[in-house]
């Protein structure tokens, strides 16, 4: 059992916390985990991306090979498209539908959406709305984790306990909000499938 993920977003969206939860979940199941992340310059509203791999067998490369990503999980729609060649032939794109426009030449929303919808496996999730419902805009990353969960070979319970571990330093209220966000994302993703 092995999965290769590309996590995508923009600096400040909480991508690394999302990666940490998946990594923790896989670690808690005694799987081999490798996760490459981008630091430094990318924090200033630039591209942030992480390769995450886990397996019950030993794995070696922290970087996903082109054409082998089972899932591109993105906090931003245009960012999801940046990694097309990474995607496996039957790989899925699960993305936040709400664009983050901090550049003057951001493409037309409809064009972005149309290309993503060409893929057989995709989900468009309105993460901002759901995060608001959950109680905090910053929880959009956990909405997207929930939206990606049906595609992950990790039990939902392990992901939820990953949220507890990663946010251990925060208040109970923050953890509850994140769990709610996760659940809303999960349900939205399941609903979109049917």
């Amino acid at each position: 059992m092995k999965q290769n993920l590309i996590l995508a977003g923009v600096g400040g969206q909480g991508l690394l916390a999302l990666a940490a939860v998946i990594g923790e979940a896989a670690r808690s199941l005694n799987m081999h985990v490798l996760q490459a992340e981008v630091h430094g310059m990318a924090q200033r509203g630039g591209v942030v991306q992480s390769h995450l791999r886990f397996s019950d067998q030993p794995i070696h490369s922290a970087l996903v090979k082109e054409g082998t990503a089972d899932l591109v999980l993105s906090l931003e729609p245009m960012e999801a498209l940046r990694y097309m060649p990474m995607l496996a032939p039957n790989g899925a794109i699960v993305t936040n539908a709400v664009p983050f426009k901090n550049i003057p030449n951001y493409p037309d929303d409809a064009v972005v959406e149309r290309q993503i919808r060409l893929l057989p496996n995709h989900r468009f999730i309105h993460a901002v709305e759901l995060a608001k419902t959950a109680g905090a805009l910053q929880a959009a990353n956990m909405v997207m984790l929930g939206a990606g969960a049906p595609f992950l070979l990790l039990p939902v319970e392990a992901l939820k306990s990953g949220i507890h571990t990663v946010f251990a330093g925060k208040s109970d209220a923050v953890i509850e909000t994140n769990l709610r966000a996760f659940q809303l994302g999960y349900e939205a993703s399941q609903a979109a499938a049917s």
């Binding site: 996760q35 490459a36 990318a42 794995i59 922290a62 995607l87 550049i103 493409p107």
Partner: protein
């Protein structure tokens, strides 16, 4: 035994703490920063058992570590690759003086220049310093590296470099940690003369260093980081250094028919290389960074037998970070058909945060320097403010290396440029700008130095800056006329007065300083929510 999901940098830091570390010094720099940040957060640092600090620059970090080693304790200095240029003097000379307590120098290279101005390979410095070096292949090895390096360092009284690359520094894996060793007690060297590098003494120490080279080679050959895996298909032999080993394993699998020499320690394990060269028709070399090993194997004139393939032969890209796709194509494996690259996404370069104080300073500078009749140039340095090179600001004209703003502005003004203005951050100023300002004062150079004091080292994540609130005093101490040390507040509603101050100081003939003080909004936000930035 606990398993943890740690970055390569954090693994190394935990390994050093567990190996009896007493001192950790560093100047921040991507991708090395998390090593020292981790030690700073540790219980041992909080208790005062480990002295740990962000220093003024990489040279002062390494010298402090050498001093700690002189006192018999285990110490390390950490830096990014270009930081080793700044610390090159103590790096090379400490190999001659030798160390006493274990001394390691962690250097993080950045192939592909993810956050750097070049992709220099620190292993090249080994040829100058002739000290041993470990190159861990993964996070678990990064954890073990300090213990091995400290022991090696104390066995030969020699500093040991640990070479890392971005991908290992910034990747997480599950690692198993071990027990904590006792820290060394204070002790002084019993042969202290070797630390006096006067020519007559230095020659002796240098001869000893040369004598040790064979021992170092033997250590590399028997290092736990070096392995020779037998193979039956000798048409190709594989050499893989550091993290490249795992890319190779990913592609060839556990049962590769070819022999594989995994190199994790330098100087090169010569006998193992000789074995591979004599038994294989072709040797394929995988290494991240420069073709350092490949170049040595080829020799001059270019060797023909066995055939050496790698970055120099074109079997791998000459520049940039290695990845599993490159490795697969070097083995001639066919690429699967891929989804096409989408042409829709636009680039999203890093930019100044909305509301950043540097934005206001740059707008004021533009009003003076970019007006129609102005021919002034803005010599910049390295920090967040360098991002003003991008639209909508397009303010800075240069960015070469840390400290270069003031001194290049001085040279250009002496070539005839006016206005010649330098733009430098508070931390870069104390890193290597102060000496240049002293030159300006001594030569009465006609330059204006704008110090953007955002009260932190923002670019690398908000570390504590060396000279908080003391910049005006420092400039006056260096001899700048206090009447020409002006303090402004970079805010939109102060734009006009700030422009006027800059205009006046550019008009002044002689060295002048404008200090723009306003806190970075990221650190300000963090200290509001946490009650203190880290």
């Amino acid at each position: 035994m606990a398993t943890q999901l740690l970055l390569g940098n954090e693994s190394l830091a935990q390994g050093a703490i567990d190996a009896g570390l007493s001192g950790a010094y560093a100047y921040p720099g991507t991708p090395s920063t998390e090593i020292t940040a981790y030690v700073l957060r540790s219980h041992q640092a909080a208790m005062g058992d480990i002295s740990c600090a962000w220093t003024a620059n990489e040279k002062t970090a390494l010298e402090a570590a050498l001093g700690m080693s002189y006192g018999g304790k285990r110490a390390m200095a950490s830096m990014k690759h270009v930081g080793l240029n700044v610390a090159a003097d103590p790096f090379i000379n400490s190999a001659i003086s030798g160390s006493h307590g274990g001394l390691i120098i962690n250097v993080a290279d950045d192939p592909s220049m993810h956050s750097s101005q070049n992709e220099q390979d620190s292993r090249v410095y080994l040829d100058l310093a002739m000290m041993p070096c470990l190159e861990p292949a993964d996070q678990q090895e990064a954890y073990h590296a300090p213990a091995i390096a400290f022991a090696l360092s104390e066995r030969y009284r020699i500093p040991v470099m640990i070479r890392l690359t971005t991908r290992l520094c910034h990747s997480r894996a599950t690692i198993t940690t071990g027990a904590m060793q006792k820290r060394n007690a204070f002790s002084l060297p019993d042969d202290p003369k070797r630390f006096i590098l006067l020519p007559a003494l230095a020659r002796k120490s240098y001869a000893k260093l040369l004598d040790r080279q064979l021992d170092f080679t033997r250590e590399s050959e028997t290092s736990p980081f070096t392995t020779y895996c037998e193979g039956t298909d000798l048409s190709t032999g594989i050499i893989a250094c550091g993290t490249a080993y795992h890319y190779v394993r990913e592609i060839v699998g556990e049962n590769c028919p070819h022999p594989i020499l995994k190199i994790g320690q330098y100087p090169l394990p010569l006998s193992l290389i000789e074995r591979m060269m004599s038994e294989c028709d072709r040797v394929l070399v995988f290494e991240d960074g420069y073709p350092y090993v490949e170049g040595k194997l080829r020799g001059v004139p270019l060797r023909s037998s066995p055939i050496i393939h790698g970055r120099l032969s074109g079997h791998l890209p000459r520049t940039g970070e290695l990845n599993p796709d490159h490795v697969a194509s070097a083995f001639g494996l066919e690429m699967p058909s891929l989804h096409e690259v989408s042409t829709i996404p636009a680039p999203r370069p890093p930019a100044l945060c909305p509301g950043c104080p540097h934005g206001d300073t740059c707008r004021a500078l533009n009003a003076v320097l970019k007006s129609d009749d102005a021919i002034g140039k803005l010599f910049s340095d390295i920090g967040c403010y360098t991002l003003s090179a991008m639209p909508p600001y397009e303010s800075v004209d240069t960015c070469v290396e840390m400290g270069a703003s003031i001194t290049m502005a001085k040279g250009a003004s002496q070539a005839g440029l006016h206005p010649s203005v330098a733009l430098i951050g508070d931390s870069t100023f104390t890193h290597s700008g102060m000496t240049g300002l002293l030159d300006c004062v001594n030569e009465n150079a006609n330059v204006t130095v704008v110090i953007v004091d955002n009260l932190t080292i923002a670019m690398t994540g908000g570390q504590k800056s060396s000279a908080n609130n003391r910049l005006a005093d420092i400039c006056a101490g260096l001899g700048v006329d206090p009447a020409h040390i002006r303090i402004i507040t970079p805010l939109p509603n102060k734009h006009d007065e700030n422009v006027e101050v800059i205009r006046q100081e550019i008009a002044f003939e002689g060295p002048s300083v404008v200090i723009a003080v306003r806190e970075c909004i990221q650190t300000a936000r963090r200290s509001r929510s946490k009650g203190g930035a880290s």
